[in-house]
Symmetry: C2
Subunit: 140 residues, 2 copies
Amino acid sequence: MGELDAVLKEKGVKLTEQRRRLLEKALLQHKHFSAEELYETLRQKRAGISRATVYRTLKLLAAHDVLDVHDFDRGYHLYESRLGRHHHDHLVCLKCGRITEFENPDIESEQEKVARHYHFKIVSHSHKIYGLCHRCRVGN
Amino acid sequence: MGELDAVLKEKGVKLTEQRRRLLEKALLQHKHFSAEELYETLRQKRAGISRATVYRTLKLLAAHDVLDVHDFDRGYHLYESRLGRHHHDHLVCLKCGRITEFENPDIESEQEKVARHYHFKIVSHSHKIYGLCHRCRVGN
DNA sequence: CTCACTTTGAGACTGAGTCTCACTTTCATA
DNA sequence: TATGAAAGTGAGACTCAGTCTCAAAGTGAG
């Protein structure tokens, strides 16, 4: 059994050929990807996975914290592998779409203060900064 | 000319009956509302505004900073009047849907530091904390 | 191996939001 | 206050990400 199988097994997720093949592609991805993109990639590789299964499996993997889902107001979700990665937030360029990741412990701890104040139990958060990236500002 | 007309005029937005009527309802709203909700309200009041115009006008008002748009991952947007209000962010309860507002200057300034570091010009941001609100935690 | 239970695929369906285009309204200027 | 270019509107068709259905196939505990 491969390493990827272990990832699913550990989560108590039933192993199927489709899930294995999808997971393999999804974890190899070096950037954010959409369900449609992944479906198209798999279709071209003749992986034999239907659109419905792609959507279902991505949702499943996100629910099991294998993937992160992001909504950058594009009308569809972007996914990102979570394996071996730290939590991070994003700077989103409104002009070129470039997404830059950032980590800031001070924001995280302030956030916890806020939650404590409202007796709120944090499950997750999403912090996005929209604007112009360096390149787009200087006119590239 | 009413106060609301002035709001639109100031932004250089052409005044139409539909916009006036929509703006009036939108600014009276005390909580977040969706385009469909507003359309339904207006329809029941026989305001004579089409669905297309509701969507178009909300977008326009948001572009002119009269309204804020929020995406709480519900599959549609929620709007909120911006007039006379401070910027704020949100705690979103995953169980009951309750939305609580918060303001935290420290987060805002840390955010500016982050942007500066990446030579990024902030236009807007969205910071949402998902989890369980006080009531849902204690089992109400 | 068996079988209860789960997953899959094809394609119909949903629902928020956009587009089209003929018709109407607005408002700067005369 | 009349005029007309430019902008806005409505009905309903359309888009498109995502979900649902249900018969058939696959999975894995015992």
